[in-house]
């Protein structure tokens, strides 16, 4: 029987989705090792303790609340010190957290403070016996999946966001309060400014979704259907082929391909793009590729996961409408 500690990530006073996923993973691990407790630690500004209820519903037995006015912005050093302090004062089998921007920072620090091995970006915890944990971790840009054994009485694991589905395991969590284990004002790294995304134009390199247009659009003014589809996704950037930027329909900075940007978004929608070698070199590694083209022989269909043969002027507006509806229903 062993307890598991979760660092439950918050932004402001709100819990992040990955915190619940880590809690679910911790619950499973605690249950697998003979029914230990799941403890979740949150660190944030006053009021953050209110997330305890939500954590309890997902399987946390104890919620350790670290509230401090100096924690309005995420403070890695305080979070790591507090997690380590909590572990040192008790007995835990593992520390779990998300493999998110925060988790990437906190995990290794906790591991060093506790001298515990850390596996990052875990997609599954497969077995726990004695001092041994068997976990799955994708490497080589997801081209290889590693099964790793961690041999240590205490381990740090960061779990890949969305890899584990958060599940309800209703209980009422006890709340422990704790003072920050480090002075937030003494941090060596201070956040000066946070810019929320979604307001400015999303860079092609960062965009989770890219909608790109090619010469199949026939004219510069038809590019607006590409922009409208991108707007429907909300988190999409607009790209173009070399032919299109050469023709001046779009700025050169929008070009995707061998001589332009090389991108690999979660979703790539190719509109009126035939798929010349020069273009494929810039987008082949996208996770999911959708192609819309009137020529069913176009090479783009060879790399596309989903293809629609048809007139872009007809298909794209219909898709835009459908995406809007899908987003609204979500």
């Amino acid at each position: 029987m062993a307890n598991v500690l979760v660092f439950a990530e918050t932004r402001g006073v709100a819990l992040r989705k990955v915190a619940l996923e880590a809690t679910t993973a911790a619950r499973a691990l605690a249950d697998a090792t003979g029914g230990g407790e799941v403890h979740a630690l949150v660190a944030g500004p006053p009021g953050v303790g209110a997330v305890a209820e939500q954590l309890g519903k997902h399987g946390a037995d104890v919620v350790v609340v670290v509230e401090h006015a100096g924690l309005a912005n995420f403070n890695c050093e305080v979070a790591a010190a507090s997690v380590a302090a909590r572990v040192k004062g008790a007995s835990y089998r593992a520390v779990l957290l998300g493999f998110s921007a925060q988790g990437r920072d906190v995990g290794p620090r906790v591991a060093v403070k506790l001298d515990a091995p850390i596996v990052a970006d875990v997609t599954a915890i497969q077995a726990a016996t004695g001092d041994s944990l068997i976990v799955q971790h994708p490497g080589y840009a997801n081209k290889v999946i590693a099964t790793l054994e961690v041999k240590s009485p205490l381990a740090v694991l960061s779990v890949r966001p969305s890899a584990i589905t958060a599940q309800a395991a209703e209980r009422t969590a006890r709340v422990d309060t704790m003072a920050p284990a480090a002075d937030p004002a003494a941090s060596r790294v201070m956040v000066k400014e946070v810019v929320e995304g979604g307001k400015g134009k999303i860079d092609l390199g960062d965009a989770p979704v890219i909608v790109a247009g090619g010469r199949g659009l026939k004219a510069a003014e038809n590019f607006k259907i590409v922009e409208e589809l991108a707007a429907a996704f909300g988190n999409a950037a607009v790209g173009a082929t070399r032919a299109v930027t050469d023709d001046g329909w779009r700025p050169h900075s929008d070009q995707i391909g061998q001589t332009g940007r090389q991108v690999s978004p979660q979703l790539y929608v190719a509109v009126g793009i035939s798929g010349a070698i020069q273009h494929l070199a810039g987008m082949r590694t996208s996770k999911t590729i959708v192609a819309i083209n009137k020529d069913k022989e176009a090479p783009i269909f060879k790399v596309a996961d989903y293809g629609i043969v048809g007139d872009v002027m007809e298909v794209v507006p219909a898709l835009t409408k459908a995406v809007h509806e899908a987003k609204a229903g979500h």
């Binding site: 070399r242 050169h252 001589t259 090389q262 010349a276 070698i277």
Partner: protein, 688 residues
Amino acid sequence: MGTSNLVFAFILTLGAGFFALNVQRLVGYMQIGKSDDRSDHPLVRLKNVLTIGIGQTKIFRDPVAGAMHATIFWGFMVLTAGTVEILIQGVFSKFSYALLLPKLVYQLYAMSQDGFAALVIAAIAFAFYRRLVLHPKRLEGDKLEHTDALIILGMIGGLMVTLLLTNACQYLLDPSAIGPEKFVSRQLAGLIAPLDPAPTRLFTVFWWSHALLILTFLNYLPYSKHLHVATSLINVYLSNTSGPGQKGVMRPMDLEADVDHFGAADVEDLTWKNLLDGYSCTECGRCTAACPANLTGKLLSPRKIVINSRQRLMEKAPVALGDHMEFMHPALVHGEGDDAGATTLTEVLEHRLLDTYITEEELWACTSCRACVQECPVSIDQLDIINEMRRNLVLTESRFPEEIQPAFESLERNGSPWAFNPGDRALWAEGLEINTMAELMERGERPDILFWVGCMGSFDDRAKKIAVAFARILKACNVNFAILGQEEHCHGDPARRMGNEYLYQMLAKDTIGTLDRYEVKTIVTSCPHCFHQMGNEFPQLGGNYEVIHHSTYIERLLQENLVPLQSDHGQRLTVAYHDSCYLGRYNDVYDAPRETLKRSLPVINLVEPPRTKDRGLCCGAGGGRMFMEERVGKRINVERTEELLATGAETIAVACPFCMTMISDGVKAVQSDVPVLDIAEVVAGQLA
């Protein structure tokens, strides 16, 4: 010897001496360049002098200007003999070739002098008309260049006129001295006689004018673009652009050499031959007029490259050599060239050919199509300078358009300029039952030919169809062939053309290692770049193979009736064939692809655009331009596609995967639906 003889002897010595000093100065300047052995193949070189030089074959590529120039040139050749006679007569009044030559020969000589003098005058008149009235675009230079040209034309005209007038006066004074073969002079005498029947004074004036004009002309040359009068034949002899050796082969480079930089950044990094090219350039602009980059509005002008290397030499050499004859320094006039305007020694030393005179932008605009080299009437090698300067940019300074870095990195990591998985190289051949060399080797067999597929044929969806078509033809003809499969990788030619000799040699040597391991003798490839590189440049690195382009290979198969063709000839099709530069201008393969088309499509109507064969316009992809952006001016591929479509062609045929990409894009850009086919696809489509 009279007083005037003595005076003339003195002036002649002075004039000749000053000219000799200038020759010494200019030859000295050339020596700051690197060495380059051009003493090989004297007979080939002599043949070039006789055809390109004396025969003016390249000059006649522009028939109108050609006739004009050839008249003046041949006139000069003939009249130089007369000039020597006149100069000797200046010292020894009694001298005449008549004393040395048989009568008939002398009469012929005398007639040629008069006849050519008249012809030259006519040609000069036309030259003035052309420059002052017609203004051909390619002669666009600066004011100084125009003035220089007019001075020279004036002097030549003056020389001819004074020569004839001198003869005419002499005839009036002593009719026996000027025989009937000097028919023009005699006619002229008839015009002078009414003014002065015994023109002793006029004779003296014209004779001295002529003699002094000769010396003035001689001494003006070193300060004029017309220095080519003295250097062009020498330059043609020493040039390699029409052989000896294979055309268009890049200079070998020793990467282990203990040097502080690679390639050319300044005139000292060029060879003396590059510098002689500068002296030989008359700024006729034929190179620039043929340059696809210049034609479509890019900054590059091959003429400017040559003139600028000369301008920089004039600035740098006196300083580098500690030449103190400053009064002799005024530079050769500059047409399109820049004058960096250095006034202090520090400025001269701060300047260099790269950046001060020739910009990076110009160098990267070159498609290495060789049109400039092909056109040059005096066999200047503009491309050699560009290639050397690109080498410096990449190897020494790591400066290049950022979009070619992925190509370099991918060549290094994936063995092709595109970031494709090397393991997918032979996917195009799946299901076609094509042997790899390794498979045959294992069975103890050896194919007759290796089909070198190339990176385009391996990875580009459009070019894969060409590879399949060619493989189908080989199979239909029962040719015993194999591919390297995953063991093939780029030979590095794109890297070499983009100046990255280091990467090139790495890839080329590795390729040679693979080919030698399989004891490959004969290679057939559908890519002219692979064809040129492996056939013509691999020998520099010790790789010697017979490399055949697929157009030649298919033509041979057709000729030997080995290709099972459909008997139905189908409908009459109008086809325009687009010449690939690396097949045509680099390797003189013009007929094989055309013959292939005619043999496989007996009812074909083969049409030619105005720019065709050795004048063909590049598709825009050569010299690594395939991997660069084309942001300035009109796109070359569109320009070329428009020319091809203007022939009324219903199909465009190509014989190069790079041309295929560019022309296909061009066809799309002008919203045409004319199909673009490789010659192998045309033949494969006719297989029975």
